[in-house]
Amino acid sequence: MSRRFPLAALAGVGALVLTACGGGEETPAAAGGPIKVEASDSACAVSVTNANAGNVTFEITNKGSKVTEFYLYAEGDRIMGEVENIAPGLNRRLIVEVAEAGKYQTACKPGMTGAGIRGDFTVTGGGAKQTDPNSQKAQAVKSYAEYVANNTKALDEETTKFVALVKANKVDEAKAAYARTRVYFERIEPVAEKFGDLDPKIDAREADLEPGQKFTGFHRLEKDLWVTGLQPDAPQIADQLLADVKELVTKSAAIELNALDLANGAKELLDEIATGKITGEEEAFSHTDLSDFQGNLDGSKAAIASLRPLLQAKDPALVSTLDKEFGNVQALLDKQREGDGFKLYTTLSQDQIKEFASAVDALSEPLSKVAEVASQ
C-alpha cells in the first residue's frame, strides 16, 4: 500500500496562493496594499470593496469579544478563501487569488456560526469565465470509471473466494488465490487511497503500522498463510477484509474523478512499483511482488488509455514514448512468468532487479508529464 494519504485538494485549487519565486519581497498585487477588515460582534467593516483581479490581500482585525472567521465568497456561496479562528484582539491575513472579474461577497462570522455579516465586493479585470467542458476529458473520466467498476467487481468476487478458503482452513488453495485476488486491488490502488482509512485497513504492511494499530487485511493473512500458520483470529480478519473490500466497491462507484486524477493515478502506480515492489517490501512473506507489479502496471496503462485521445491531440510524441516504455516494462515482466503467475521475487538476481528499476524510471519520467498535458 501507499504510505501517502490522498492529497485532498487535487481538484479546484484555484485559490491556492503561490508566492512569486525568488524575491519573497513582493507584496500581493492589490492596489493600495492590503484591504483592512475590522470585525466586531455586530459589524464587518471592509475598508475597500473592490479590487483588480489577481491576488487580493485582506488584513482582518477582531475588535469584538467573540472568536470570528472571515470569508470571501463567489456566487452561490462558493468559498474563494477563508480564515478561521480569529481570536479577539488578533490580526490575521488572508491572500486570495481571484482570477475572474465579477460579484463577490465578504463575510465576518462572529462566534464562527451562521451566514455571517455580508458585504458586496467587486472584482474587475482578469479573464473571462471558463465554461468550456472538454468532452475529451469527460470521455476519459467516463471510460476510466468503467475500468474501476469492472475491477472493483472482480476484487469483490475474488476476495469472497479467498476469504472462504481462509475460513475453511484450506491453506494451499488460499495461497494460490492470494496473488490472483490482489491484482485487482493493485490496479485501482490510487482510487482506494482516496478513502484514507480503508486503504491501510485492507493493504497495510506490517512494517508501516503505527504503535497500537491492529495488523489487518491482506498482508496479515499473507503472514498467517506463509509464516505463522492461520491464527485463531484469522476468520475475523478475513470477514473484516471482505467487509472493507465491499465498502471500497460501494465508495468507488460514487467517487467523482477528473482527468488530472487519472494522470496522477497513472504516475502514482509507477511510484508504488519504484518504492514498494522493486525493493520486495510489498509481499514480504509470499514474495509475490511481481504479480502486484503487473497489477500496478495494468492500472497505469488503463488510465493512460482512457486519456489517449486527449493526449494524442495535444502531444502525440509523448503518447508514442509512453507506448514504447510501457512495452519495455511489460516485456521484462513477461520474462518472469511461471504457470499462470510469476516467479517469486526472491529468485530475481540483483541485475534483473536493476533492469526492472531502470525500465520503471524510463517509463515514470514521461508519465510524470501527463498531468500537465491533461490539465491544459
Binding site: R3, A9, E84, T275, S364, S368
Partner: protein
C-alpha cells in the same frame, strides 16, 4: 596532561621548514615560528573568526551557527576497563582542544616527530585553517549498562527510541555507545578530526557507523540564510535559533532538576538517517510538492502567506474552504502549534552516499536534532510525522540513534567529567 602544557604547533605551513631535514626538528625549535604565521589569504581577523571556542557552559556544535560540512561517527566501547575509557576521554578532549584551535594532534604533529615513527597527526589538515571546527560528544543508552557502573547515572530522558511507523532501520546504521559530531566549513577538516579521534581510540573504542554530510540543511542563527534540502525546499525556517535564549533554556538545555545533575547544561541528540526517494519526488508536480511541504518552493513562504518568515496560519482556507496548508502537510504536523508547543533545534545535513545498485542515488537528509527531553519533544513529533505526513511517501528512515550530550568543558576539564566523577 592538557593542551596547555606544551607549546601548540599551528597546522599552518611553517615557513622555511620545508624539506626532509627540517622535518626532524623537534617542536621546541618550531615554537614561535608557526604560531602566528597565517595561511595564504587569511587575515589575522579572519583566522580568529574561524576558530570556535571549545570551552564553555555548553558544548560547541549545538547553537554554533551551522557549518557547511559534517563528519559524524558512532562508536562502541570495546574495553571493560573504566579507567581506560576515562583516560581516552581525557586524551580525546585534549586532541579536540587542539584541533578546534587549528593545531595538530600530539606533540610532534604530522612532520615534527621522529622520522622512524609514524606521525602523531595524520596530516591531511596541514595548511588548512581551523574552519570553524566544532567537536561534540554524546553518550548512547548502551553505555549505561553494567560495564562501567553507570546504570544509576542514565538520564530518564535517554530512552531507547521506539520503532516509528514505516521505519526501515538498518542495524549497521544505528545505536552506539558514544558519538562524536564534527562540523566544519571544510570537509577535510571535519574528516581529519574524526579520523584522528578514532585513531586515538583504537583498543578502547571501535567505529560502529559513520556519516558524511554536506550543505547544512538548517540554520541556527538569524544571521544565516535558510539552506535547501535535497527536495529543493528551504529547510529550517522556523528552527530554534541561537538568539532565542528563552527557548534554548526551556527546550534545549537539560538542568540538574531534570534528574541527573551531571547533565546540567547538556542536551539530548537524536540522529536519524532519512533516505529520500528523490527520483519519484522529482516527478511530483510543483503544486503537489508544495502541498506536501506546506510552503512555496521559491520563497519558502508558508502557503497562504507572502514571505519566508511570515508565520504560518493553519486556519486559512482556499477554494471550497480546503486548508491551504493541508492537514497532512509536513509543516503543519511538525509545527509547535500542533505539538503542544514542543520545539527542537535541528542541525541536519544533506547526504549522497553513492547509489543503491538499482540505478538510484542513495541520498537524503542526515537529521540531527537537540532537545531537552526527547520523550516530550522529538518522539511525539516523529509519531505524528511517521503516521500522517504526506512526505512519508518519499522518505525512509534507515538509521536511528539517541545520545545524552554532556555539558561543556571547562579549561583543564574533560568530556563527560561529571559522568565519571
Amino acid at each position: 596532561m592538557t593542551g596547555t602544557e606544551h607549546t601548540p604547533v599551528s597546522r599552518r605551513k611553517l615557513f622555511g621548514m620545508a624539506g626532509a631535514g627540517a622535518a626532524l626538528v623537534g617542536t621546541g625549535a618550531a615554537a614561535g615560528i608557526g604560531a602566528n604565521r597565517l595561511l595564504g589569504g587569511d587575515s589575522p581577523a579572519q583566522a580568529a573568526q574561524n576558530v570556535v571556542e571549545f570551552h564553555g557552559e555548553h558544548q560547541a556544535g549545538i547553537v554554533t551557527p551551522v557549518q557547511e560540512n559534517l563528519h559524524f561517527v558512532s562508536l562502541d566501547v570495546t574495553t571493560k576497563d573504566r579507567e581506560k575509557l576515562v583516560k581516552l576521554l581525557r586524551t580525546w578532549t585534549d586532541a579536540a582542544r587542539r584541533m578546534t584551535a587549528g593545531q595538530e594532534v600530539g606533540t610532534g604533529g604530522a612532520v615534527g616527530g621522529a622520522a622512524a615513527a609514524p606521525p602523531s597527526d595524520t596530516g591531511e589538515a596541514l595548511d588548512l585553517a581551523a574552519s570553524s571546527l566544532t567537536l561534540t560528544i554524546g553518550f548512547g543508552p548502551s553505555l549505561f549498562d553494567d560495564r562501567f557502573g553507570l546504570a544509576s547515572k542514565r538520564p530518564a530522558a535517554l530512552i531507547d527510541l521506539p520503532l516509528f511507523p514505516a521505519d526501515k532501520l538498518d542495524p549497521a546504521r544505528g545505536g552506539g555507545d558514544i558519538c562524536i559530531q564534527a562540523c566544519a566549513d571544510d570537509p577535510q577538516v571535519a574528516v581529519h578530526a574524526i579520523r584522528n579521534l578514532v585513531r586515538l581510540g583504537f583498543g578502547v573504542t571501535a567505529v560502529r557507523w559513520s556519516q558524511l554530510g554536506f550543505g547544512r540543511s538548517s540554520s541556527t542563527s538569524r544571521a544565516q540564510s535558510t539552506p535547501r534540502n535535497l527536495f529543493g525546499f528551504k529547510d529550517g525556517t522556523r528552527n530554534v535559533k541561537a538568539e532565542e535564549a528563552d527557548v534554548l533554556r526551556d527546550q534545549v538545555w537539560a538542568t540538574a532538576e531534570d534528574g541527573q545533575p551531571w547533565m546540567a547544561g547538556g542536551s539530548f541528540l537524536v540522529a536519524r538517517r532519512i533516505r529520500m526517494h528523490i527520483e519519484t519526488w522529482d516527478r511530483e508536480s510543483l503544486q503537489g510538492q508544495e502541498g506536501i511541504v506546506g510552503r512555496s518552493k521559491g520563497a519558502g513562504a508558508p502557503l497562504g502567506q507572502a514571505a519566508e518568515f511570515d508565520e504560518p496560519d493553519f486556519h486559512v482556507g482556499g477554494a471550497g474552504g480546503e486548508k491551504l496548508i493541508p492537514e497532512d502537510s509536513h509543516v503543519r504536523l511538525a509545527s509547535h502549534e500542533n505539538l503542544n508547543g514542543a520545539r527542537i533545534l535541528r542541525r541536519g545535513y544533506n547526504f549522497v552516499d553513492g547509489s543503491d545498485g538499482v540505478g538510484h542515488l542513495d541520498a537524503g537528509l542526515f537529521f540531527l536534532a537537540f532537545n531537552r527531553d526527547t520523550r516530550k519533544q522529538f518522539v511525539p513529533m516523529q509519531q505524528a510525522l511517521s503516521s500522517k505526513d504526506a512526505m512519508m511517501e518519499y522518505l525512509q528512515h534507515t538509521g536511528s540513534a539517541h545520545f545524552a550530550v554532556p555539558p561543556g568543558v571547562r579549561e583543564g576539564g574533560f568530556w563527560g567529567e561529571g559522568l565519571f566523577a
